[in-house]
């Protein structure tokens, strides 16, 4: 009888213990940090700021996790295996692209840029809360530099938005969940103004390359601010955004570029070689690049995207078009349509200008110790078959496929994403100056410098193949052509086409490849042909701007308006 009293006592005690410890479910997530903890610690605050860089575009082959790129949307290339993120752009199915694979150029960019903007705006608003870092040779947190970086990155985010969508809503303060955030779109000009204002402050906060240690290489500098400014002003002056053709806008763009060229922000210069422009750790030409170290073979894009299966690639789907190939001039700087250029359609790859060899892999090109084999007949070519894992156009892209990449014995190499390089500034200047003033000597100088570095022969007149005394229109064509070649596959062409409004003549035309037949004597017969329907692209003028993601329009209950032509 005594027993149960003891048990009763135990049970009651247990119940008592259980019911009294009220915080049993209180689980302070000890490993996670609160917002105040972040900004109370200079080290954490610095990490918070650095996290903003993850929201900037940082690779060329970004669609659907390195399966497509904007070069394939433009006339530069086609997607050999008809990747959905590319074909949706090719067919004008932009909403499908927007809602398709999780990495795309419309909805993802919209979300990603605003996510970055939120971080940058929050960091700016909490800048004063971060206590001074303890003294050290390399300070943990530099409020001045961080402010400059945040403003620069925010400007860059808004620019990526205006480049694609035109005017977008401006989110200029830290919003919380409960704030009314259904903002209307600001006009393109308003957003541009906002970007320039951020850049004006950023310029005063950042240093030059020389001010930073090598450990900070890759952070934006005054030079990067100015390079972005030239690009922003150039886009603002372009036909898409400057329907009245206001010359003052062009002049502002030219002046901005001029300041960089004057060396005000550092001694930038074209590097001696063009062929390794993506593959060097540092360069006098780099104004800002994405630092990512050596890219392994199976990494971002090579094995699965740009390499021929003949060299161990899985999907050789990055296939430059004949349209793009035909734009490369001859070594003497003359276009292949020029009867005096010396172009032989049956030896199409002889004597082309050097950048052709730097950008394009073509049939019979020596490559990795052998010759590239892309003939369709007789069967058995190593780098071409009708299977769609091989090239559709009989070209591969050298810029995305450095020669060291091969399955057996392959090694890694640098494959930088370039935000700004000096050649672009020169081209920006030339274009703006030609529109503002006309094809004066300074315009010629920039093109000549670029073509000289490329390795085009100077010719008797030292104009490197350029026609002397061009009209403004001729010069415009020459500059656009130079830009297409110099900046090929570097994320420019597609957006240039949109801002120049030249889609109808570049995208809406037949996409071509070349058929190669190997003769019994070992020589080749080349026959350009129009690619199958799969690779053809459609163009309508509404495509000059992307549609605002439809889900955002739905959510806004009519506050967000759609771009013209898009439903």
């Amino acid at each position: 009888m005594k027993n149960y009293k003891i048990y009763t006592a135990i049970v009651l005690l247990t119940l008592f213990a259980v019911s009294c410890k009220k915080d049993y479910l209180e689980r302070t997530p000890g490993v996670a940090l609160s917002e105040d903890e972040i900004f109370a610690d200079p080290a954490q605050a610095a990490r918070f700021a650095d996290n903003a860089y993850n929201y900037v575009i940082n690779k060329y082959v970004r669609f659907n996790d390195h399966r497509g790129c904007v070069a394939q949307a433009s006339d530069e290339a086609v997607s050999g295996n008809s990747e959905g993120t590319v074909t949706t752009l090719n067919r004008g199915l932009y909403h499908d692209h927007s809602n398709g694979a999780s990495l795309n150029d419309i909805y993802d960019i919209w979300k990603r840029m605003y996510a970055g903007i939120a971080i940058e705006t929050k960091m700016l608003s909490r800048l004063a809360d971060v206590p001074p870092a303890p003294p050290a040779t390399v300070p943990i947190f530099q409020p001045v530099r961080v402010e400059g970086e945040m403003r620069f990155l925010r400007a860059m985010s808004y620019f990526e938005l205006t480049k694609r969508f035109g005017g977008v809503p401006i989110v200029d303060k830290v919003y919380t969940v409960n704030d009314e955030l259904n903002l209307p779109r600001s006009s393109f000009d308003e957003v541009t103004k906002y970007i320039l204002a951020d850049l004006a402050i950023a310029e005063t906060k950042l240093g030059n390359d020389a001010d930073y240690t090598t450990a900070d290489y890759g952070r934006p500098t005054k030079g990067a601010v100015q390079a972005l400014r030239t690009r922003v002003l150039l886009y603002a002056a372009s036909p898409l955004n400057n329907p009245t053709g206001d010359k003052a806008k062009w002049a502002a763009a030219a002046a901005a570029a001029q300041k960089l060229m004057n060396g005000e922000f550092g001694p930038y210069a074209l590097q001696a070689t063009y062929g390794d422009i993506l593959n060097v750790p540092t360069s006098s030409e780099y104004i800002m690049i994405r630092i990512k170290g050596n890219t392994p073979l199976a990494g971002e894009m090579m094995q699965d995207f740009s390499m021929s299966p003949g060299s161990g690639g899985a999907q050789g789907q990055m296939n430059p078009t004949q349209n793009h190939v035909d734009m490369y001039e001859m070594a003497n700087g003359k276009g292949i349509t020029d009867p005096t250029s010396g172009y032989d359609p049956q030896k199409p790859y002889a004597n082309r200008e050097p950048r052709f060899y730097d950008n394009i892999i073509y049939n019979d090109r020596p490559w990795q110790g052998r010759a590239i084999q892309m003939w369709s007949s007789p069967a058995g070519a190593l780098d071409y078959s009708t299977t769609i894992t091989y090239t559709a156009t009989r070209y591969y892209c050298k810029k995305y496929w450095p020669e060291v990449y091969r399955t057996v014995g392959g090694s890694t190499t640098l494959l930088n994403y370039i935000y700004f390089r000096y050649a672009e500034v020169l081209l920006n200047y030339a274009e703006a100056q030609n529109e503002a003033v006309g094809p004066d000597a300074t315009v010629y100088t920039q093109l000549v410098d670029i073509r000289k570095r490329a390795g085009i022969l100077p010719g008797a007149d030292n104009l490197y193949g350029l026609k002397a005394n061009m009209t403004q229109d001729e010069m415009r064509t020459a500059i656009r052509h130079e830009r297409a070649i110099e900046l090929a596959f570097e994320d420019h062409r597609w957006y240039d086409i949109m801002r120049w409004k030249i889609g109808a003549t570049t995208i809406g035309v037949p996409m071509k490849g070349v058929d190669v037949i190997k003769q019994t004597n070992g020589s080749f017969v080349y026959t350009p042909f129009v690619l199958s329907q799969t690779f053809q692209k459609t163009w309508t003028e509404k495509q000059n701007l992307y549609p605002i993601p439809r889900a955002e329009i739905y959510k806004s209950k009519g506050v967000l308006t759609q771009n013209p032509g898009w439903e």
Partner: protein, 1026 residues
Amino acid sequence: MKLLKSKYKYIACLLFLWACVLNVYSQTPDEQLTVTGRVVDQDRKPVAGVAISIQEDKTNKSVTTDADGRFTLAASTSDVIVFKYVGYLMVLKPAAEVSKGDIVLTKALIDAADNDNVYIPFGVRKKREVTATISTITTDNLPQIPSSSLTNVFTGRLPGLAIYPSGSQQPGYDVSSFLIRGRSSYNSNQEPLVLVDGIERDFRSMDLGEIESVSVLKDAATLAWYGMYSANGVIYVKTKRGSATSTSVTFDAQAGLQAPLQIAAPLDAYNYASLYNEASINSGGTAVYSPAALQAYQDGSDPIKYPNNNFVRDFTKRVAPTQRYVASVTGGNAFIKYYTLLSAYQQGGFYKGGHNDTYDANTDFNRYNLRTNIDLHVNKNLDVALDIGGRITNLTFPNAGTATFLSTVYSMPANAFPVINPNGSYGGTSIFTQNNPQAMLEARGASTDLVRNMMATLSARQKMDGILKGLTAEVFYAYDIAGLYRSGFSQQYATSELKADGTYTTYGTPVKVDYQANAFSGNIRKSEFWAGFDYNRTFGKHDIKFSTRVSRANYASFGSLDVRREGWSNRLSYNYMQRYFLDLTASYAGSENFAPGSRYGFFPAASAGWIISDEDFMKSATSFLDFLKIRGSYGLVGNDAIGTARRFAYNDFFTRSATGYTFGTGYTGVSGSGQLALANPFLTWEKAYKTSVGFDAKMFKQALSISADYFYEDRKDLTTASLLPSLLGQSLIYVNEGEASYKGFETGINFNKKIGGVNLNVFGNFTYNTSKILAINEGAGLPDYQKQLGHPISSVISPAATANTGAGYVSMMLISDGIFQSQAQIDASARQILSKDVKPGDIKYVDQNGDGVINDLDRVRTDFNFVPKAYFGFGASVSYANFDANFLFQGTSGRSITIQQLVNAGNTNNGFLNQFSADRWTPDNPGAPYPRLLLTDRGNNTATSDFWIRSGDYIRLKNVEIGYSLSPSFIKKLKIRQLRFYASGLNLLTFDKLGDLPIDPELPESGYNSSYPYMKIYSFGVNLKF
């Protein structure tokens, strides 16, 4: 490892100890005594003719009471005396206690006899007393099937419980899902809580022999006990316990053969090449295979240059073996009862080909289950129970990966390469560098996953009549651990391709076989504690049962904070005259998922029952009706598993693990501190308001019983998207603004009759349900035909991603309108821009918004659903003399499946060709079921549309068992109580609406793409009882 090992040692020691205890009890010198007494009924009238025996007595000595109810019996102190009388409840009494007073026998009411126990959470009721909706099946009625998943056995057996295979059927996985009644949350598939002896445990991998009964708790009346964790229903598994009335030793041995229900039948080389040529030409290319090559494929003249493989034939077995052995010992006496089971199960894989001396890469599954349940009657006030279960599973699989191996076997073109080259090397090509199935089995290594589980439960009940008559206290503690250990052999191979010039090109680098790095994972520790009081007392015609428990659970795995739960559950049952019943259940439960201050919820439920047949007016009214109970319940149950929201989602916080960013030419990365998705401090649990009304009836001398229920559930506070613009730059954890409901009915029927020498039992059950979305956040501008609001919670499962659709649940799709037969038709229709080129043979779509273009605005929200509207089962068991037989049909209706991922299966390497490609549209075959073949620009014909939807309705002969028992007179000489031989089968016959389509309606992708096939099993067994 060490920890686990020591645990097992510990278990072994414990078992040994218990065995000693057992011995000690039996060896205590017993006092002999003469037991005398009187047996009376409830009205204190003596009962004559009561059979009285001693438990576990080998001599089968038995006496009966005389006319005065008196008896005399010689026994010893350790004996338990058993009193049995037909129509009355059995009474057990320790011999020493018998003489202290009259033995009272209680008349058994309908549904309240000895075997009418229904187990409810921390309690037991007679079926008669139950006011909630509970369906129970005891395992005596189930067939013995050598399947690695118990769910196969329960499919179609219980009303309101849908069981469907939902993933890999690979040995050892056999993934299936449960659904109780219907779906009322669009955020999850509403998997119910599965409790084994009151604790959340895996029940699929138990051995059938361990289980006494399985109950499905469906309405608020029982579920409210579990407060926030049981809104999706509970499957309550009760394990077998020892018997105080009989000792028995049983042994079961079964051997069986499994054969795939459906498996891919790949194209031969000739057909493959011909179709490839057609696809290539359709895509604007030229024929890839020359007539000479086609001829060579047909005549097999050069099997090296023109191979014609059938990988399915060469690398899979038509049948694979399986076997199961179960031994159990059960028994007990007045002080101890025990049940011990040991079982071994083996399921062989169906891969064949390849040989390696070091390992066998064929998949193979072994499972060993151990269970010992011990009940100790320590003294007349204290009972202690100790249950220990152990499980070891051993799964071997090829290192190439089950999915990779199967997709290679199913979908590698027949002409890809010779398996073995003339020089003895493995065949391969530049696009199939590591796809040689033989090499995968013999030169790619194999792994073994060893999973060890230990489950222990200790409970003690103390009677406290001294404080309050009828009061008992109980403490209950469970501790489970599990761990996975992977080991095996690694190896790599190279493949070679014979070139035209006689040389070989080699792909890959061979690596000799070696031990692979061992790895631990899945280490889980789970403990649960319940304590409280029960009060059971009868006052005249009033009967009161009250239970209260506090509980805490802790679930710990490596690398994260342990998950905790806490609750306080109460239940009050009252009945008057065993005719009017009322139950109140209420719990107060908390979840760590919610903000302090709004962490605990109150979940009440009420239910009532009325045995209307006991009323005088009914007794006179109907002669055929023996029993009729009307019952109903209403209550609130919560669900704290609110979808994919992160843990502690009420709290805003930052992580240090944001992706790093690299600066500097030294390429040193810096990590970021990123803000996680924004918190919602008002986040709360889903609230399920459940209504259930029904009846139980018995008719015709209790031969026929029927139960039926109408149910309705309204689930509020479902989490739904926040509709915040992306401008915020942050995603927000969901908001509780959704609502959905389901309703329907379920019924079960059972007919039991002995006709002459034939024992006949016929049974059936049927459940029907529909759901409706009542509130969901959707974009305001979304066209009406794309909204989910007002639709059922529905989707079809698209397990594999295609070019244009992701994997997962799909309910928005284009509506198809057949196949274009001519260019004129195309010109007259809306412009389809999903592919660049639309030609005759392509799928035609309906222009939903009439804008002349087919794009994403033409997608329509559909009601195609993978959850059936109705599911049912029916069957019978018959026994006559020494023979017995039973069968079960099971089926669903109102269910949809998609075959898109089967017909469009493939990749660029095999040209998207498969066995279904033969039925493609061609100008000569305009009535073909599938569109024309294409290598590229396939967007139009692979878009998600109703073109690919098929009915998932089926009726399946789920199992049949035929048994023969040797006659008792014969086996008595062998000292055997029972010897039964039986043959059984699983998934034997299927009737569906798929026509010639060779797929399984239950799991369409099984046997295709990269899925292990769903198996039918034939087995033979022998059952021995001593």
